[in-house]
């Protein structure tokens, strides 16, 4: 739990999640199943952004929840359950991508473009910005996986450099270098079709 937040400050939804987490830590499977029901869309979204492949994302989601269930008693509760799941998902995705690369002799850069299906947009998101965020999303998918994983975790999901380094088993400085390379590539990709100018107006 963040230092500046007491349990009373937590929104009702978060308190309910905390209660489910506490029950799951005591071995309550139905409570854990309920946690899965409430978070799996979020976890799937992250898995899709990390792997850029629907089949891989499904595998990663299942692996992430299996790891979470096995390790729920190690969840200390000083972070949000969602953040803990992000870290597990990132680790599972990284393992999955590495295994895929080794066993199928594919380069990580050769991952196919996924079909980004129905997207639940924010009400205030205009049609123009939705279209342009789609293009930003597509530019992220086009990044080499090693760069994509870092930029998604840092710039989309706000994980710290230290957390990213730990989950990917790399140094913090390596994580920063990858992040900066990823940002530069994204910037270039958006510039190629003047997308950044449109993003600038729309976001």
């Amino acid at each position: 739990m963040p230092a500046d937040q007491t349990p009373h400050d937590r929104p009702p939804g978060q308190m309910e999640l905390d209660r489910l987490v506490a029950s799951a830590r005591d071995g309550d499977r139905p409570a854990f199943d309920e946690l899965v029901r409430r978070t799996y869309v979020d976890t799937y979204t992250l898995a899709m952004r990390l792997t850029a492949d629907e089949e891989d994302a499904r595998d990663v989601v299942q692996e992430a929840y299996l790891r979470a269930w096995k390790g729920i008693d190690r969840f200390r509760g000083d972070a949000r359950f969602s953040t803990w799941m992000y870290r597990i998902t990132a680790n599972a995705a990284f393992t999955h991508l590495e295994r895929r690369r080794r066993h199928r002799h594919e380069t990580l850069d050769a991952v196919g473009e996924p079909a980004e299906r129905a997207v639940s947009a924010l009400p205030e998101e205009s049609a123009q910005s939705a279209e342009l965020l789609d293009r930003l999303s597509a530019a992220v998918r086009e990044l080499p996986p090693k760069l994509r994983v870092v930029v998604v975790l840092r710039d989309v999901y706000d994980l710290s450099h230290a957390e990213i380094a730990e989950e990917l088993s790399i140094s913090e400085s390596a994580a920063k270098v990858r992040l900066h390379r990823a940002r530069r590539k994204l910037r270039d990709a958006l510039s190629e079709d003047s997308g950044d100018e449109k993003v600038a107006r729309a976001v």
Binding site: R29, F32, D33, V36, R37, Y40, V41, D42, Y44, T45, M48, R49, E54, A57, R58, V61, Q62, Y65, L66, W69, K70, E116, R117, A118, V119, S120, A121, L122, E125, S129, L132, L133, L136, S137, V140, V151, D155, V156, Y157, D158, K176, L179, H180, R181, R183, R184, L186, R187, L190, D196, V199, A200, V203
Partner: protein, 122 residues
């Protein structure tokens, strides 16, 4: 510092709270081109953050498959735990039987020695 140097460093300095080199800061303050470039990076980061709240819809079977995988894992865990409990019980029973057999042997040997002692004395 030249615009090219600034362009190279911008992916680092757009990070909120990142220390900004003095030379870089003073160049950006006076260079419209670099100001525009910095603004583009910041908008790109805002766009990336906005992706956080755009959820992708999973296939309808994902939840059921995930819950089924968890159920399977729980069953495997329960079987493992049962087997390890039985192994402990078997080991305990064998250990207990061994101790009992050893104790019985000691008693029998002690008694037979006593008997042979009495018969020698008689």
């Amino acid at each position: 510092m030249r615009c090219d140097d600034v362009a190279r460093l911008l992916p680092e300095v757009v990070e909120a709270g990142a220390p900004v080199d003095l030379a870089l800061g003073s160049h950006v303050e006076t260079c419209l081109r670099c100001q525009a470039e910095l603004a583009r990076y910041r908008r790109m980061l805002r766009g990336l953050r906005a992706l956080r709240t755009r959820y992708l819809e999973p296939s309808p079977t994902l939840l059921a498959q995930t819950l089924a995988a968890l159920e399977e894992e729980s069953e495997r865990k329960a079987v493992r735990s049962l087997l390890s409990g039985r192994r402990l019980a078997y080991a305990g029973a064998i250990g207990g039987a061994a101790v009992a057999a050893a104790a019985t042997t000691v008693v029998i040997v002690t008694r037979s020695r006593r008997r042979s002692g009495f018969s020698l004395a008689g």
